[in-house]
Symmetry: C2
Subunit: 145 residues, 2 copies
């Protein structure tokens, strides 16, 4: 597995160990991780800190041109909110661990010109499958379902 997806998966697993939703992400600029994060619904009682948004928040305030040279790695396909953040900041490339556990917004991202790469990584899939089987109510709350 690519180094940066490994970092996102590590963050996702940390979240699971904390009793949280196991989705992790990292924002990478020219080979350097600017911010790493994971879902914070349980840990911070957050309604908006999905993995990708937590990574963006942890990257701090960045000038617009930095985002435009960055790649977001996320263990799970981005929801509408996280995809919207990618579009807001015109992040040109997204690498997704897996799209099987949730219907994401890959089509919208591609339609708006984002390069989307999907790995369908077995470790990312197994992590979400186990979590959804164990915590269906928490999962459905997290995706407003």
């Amino acid at each position: 597995m690519e180094h940066f997806m490994k970092a996102a998966l590590k963050a996702a697993r940390e979240s699971l160990a904390e009793g949280g939703v196991p989705v992790g992400a990292v924002l990478v600029h020219r080979g350097v991780i600017l911010g790493s994060g994971h879902n914070q619904r349980v840990q911070l009682g957050s309604a908006i800190l999905h993995g990708a948004l937590d990574a963006l928040e942890n990257a701090g305030r960045q000038p617009p041109e930095i985002y435009r040279e960055s790649t977001l790695y996320t263990t799970l396909t981005p929801c509408a909110m996280c995809s919207g953040a990618i579009l807001l900041y015109r992040i040109p490339r997204v690498v997704i661990g897996e799209t099987r556990s949730m219907r994401g917004e890959e089509a919208l991202l591609r339609e708006r010109g984002v390069e989307v790469e999907v790995l369908q990584d077995p470790e990312c899939i197994a992590l979400m499958e186990g979590f959804i089987a164990d915590s269906p109510a928490l999962w459905h709350e997290d995706i407003g379902d």
Copy 2:
């Protein structure tokens, strides 16, 4: 002006008084404000707390069915990220103070079935016009532009 847009505008003005980006929002469920918020880029150094996301965060963790009976009031048209949050949680109705200061995602929201009402309120417009004229760099950072 409607009571709830007045509350959103009050939050936007508080942000301006704090040196921040003057966009405010409230999430309303059956006539009760669940959460009120404003942009927190300056105040908290946040890259993701736009007005609508701050209001959702301040509303706390809510069951999916609450969002589906709620209305979001926002002084400025929601960007892609904030629109994505509306879609994630299937908030069925959005009332927007104005759409003149920014190109928002009203078309995407309507396409996905959200009821969008635009007020083009002179006070909301004047607040943003003054801010953009005074702080163009901060504004462009906030919208990744």
